[in-house]
């Protein structure tokens, strides 16, 4: 398997938790989220973020709202919900133990 294929497969499983993690630091609008994820190499383009947000919204992990308080035009912000925070906590635990195991295996195989 090529490096890209491995990375793609791994990203699929963790992407929604990365979104939750980003939102746990404060609400963000779509493009902001997309740029952040793209810079980190987690998604290729915005085209895969909005479909993911649609599912996370449907599952009650994130919540959008139009914010018209600023000067200019209203912006659509996404915030993490309580359920989303719970999911993120659970993921952090799983990731810590899974990551440790994988690391240990990789250390051993050297």
């Amino acid at each position: 398997m090529t490096e890209e294929r491995i990375a793609t497969n791994l990203r699929k499983g963790v992407l929604e938790y990365c979104v939750l993690a980003l939102l746990s630091h404060g609400e963000k609008y779509g493009l902001e989220l997309a740029d952040d994820l793209t810079t980190r190499g987690l998604i290729a383009s915005e085209g895969s973020l909005y479909p993911l947000l649609a599912r996370m919204r449907e599952n009650g992990l994130v919540e959008p709202r139009w914010d018209a308080s600023g000067t200019g035009r209203p912006r659509r912000y996404y915030a993490i919900t309580d359920d989303g925070t719970d999911q993120l906590t659970t993921f952090a635990q799983v990731w810590a133990s899974l990551g440790a195991q994988v690391d240990a295996l990789l250390e051993g195989s050297r």
Partner: protein, 299 residues
């Protein structure tokens, strides 16, 4: 409005219209939320100094973008398609069986039926061809064709044509209605509780029928009768909670009733036949909607 901003508004408007059109299968709330995302994306991109063309490009073309949305929401595009296709094939299969049934198996109930001649068989094939029609039209014309076929079969099954009892094509009509309706009401994955209860009530009918027969004294029941009632009510319960195999059992029971009804050449043939068709329709619809979905592909 300058020429340039008009063109920009066009890009966004066209993209939104295309996305809206391709997400018709979603609930209005889901679709509106996605369209809001796209609107916000174009506005944010403009603020960041990108052109609408660039904004549209980064989302991918509408077909690809909406396919991803549907996949994430569990709307595997093939899923509702599969429900429709299998029900329509079932309708066609039942129509073929109906032809054999009416031509060869139906006990001559005193009407002077001629020998089952070749022309009669050919005449009977017309409903089969009608039932199969939606399977062979282009996808665009499918819904309208299925609707027309369902109406024609329903109205037609009320008619008697050349001493040919078209009423027996009612199960075919029922399955065609199911092929039309199920993909729509099952587009969000599972069935609303009202639909499940409707299915359960129909699944419970054979049990209710026997209980009533016993109560009014037209039947005395034995162990088999009790078992019959228990199975019928049990299936109804399992259908309410959305078990796939309860639908399969119900569909098989319905098919068995269709096949066995000519063996009891009483006044009840027609009643058993219709009941068999109804149970087959409800059971198959339920099983298809609750069939284990293939994992949606993600990108």
């Amino acid at each position: 409005m300058t020429e340039r901003t008009a063109m920009n508004a066009n890009t966004e408007g066209a993209y939104l219209r295309d996305v809206g059109k391709r997400l018709r299968a979603l609930t209005p709330e889901q679709r509106d939320a996605v369209l809001d995302d796209v609107r916000a994306h174009f506005a944010d991109a403009a603020d960041a100094g990108r052109t609408p063309q660039q904004a549209a490009e980064s989302l991918g073309d509408p077909a690809q973008f909406t396919a991803r949305v549907r996949a994430e929401l569990g709307h595997e595009p093939g899923r509702t398609d599969r429900i429709w296709r299998i029900l329509q094939w079932l309708a066609t299969g039942v129509a073929v069986f109906t032809v054999m049934f009416v031509t060869f198996l139906l006990p001559d109930s005193g009407e002077d039926l001629d020998e089952p001649g070749f022309e009669i068989v050919l005449l009977h094939l017309i409903p089969v061809l009608i039932a199969a029609l939606p399977l062979f039209v282009p996808a665009r014309a499918r819904r309208i064709t299925t609707t027309a076929v369902a109406v024609v079969l329903t109205v037609g099954s009320q008619a008697v044509f050349e001493s040919m009892d078209l009423y027996f094509f009612l199960p075919t009509a029922m399955l065609t209605w199911a092929a039309l309706i199920m993909p729509i009401i099952a587009r969000n994955g599972r069935l609303a509780v009202g639909w499940r209860i409707t299915g359960a009530v129909i699944a419970a009918l054979p049990g209710v029928w026997l209980v009533v027969s016993v109560l009014v004294g037209s039947f005395t029941t034995d162990l088999w009768g009790v078992l019959w009632i228990a199975i019928s009510f049990g299936l109804a319960g399992l259908i309410t909670v959305g078990r796939t195999w309860a639908g399969i059992v119900l569909a098989v029971a319905g098919a068995a009733l269709l096949i066995l009804s000519p063996l009891d050449p009483g006044m009840l043939v027609l009643a058993f036949w219709s009941a068999g068709g109804l149970l087959l329709t409800v059971g198959a619809s339920h099983a298809l909607v609750y069939a284990r979905p293939r994992k949606p592909a993600r990108t």
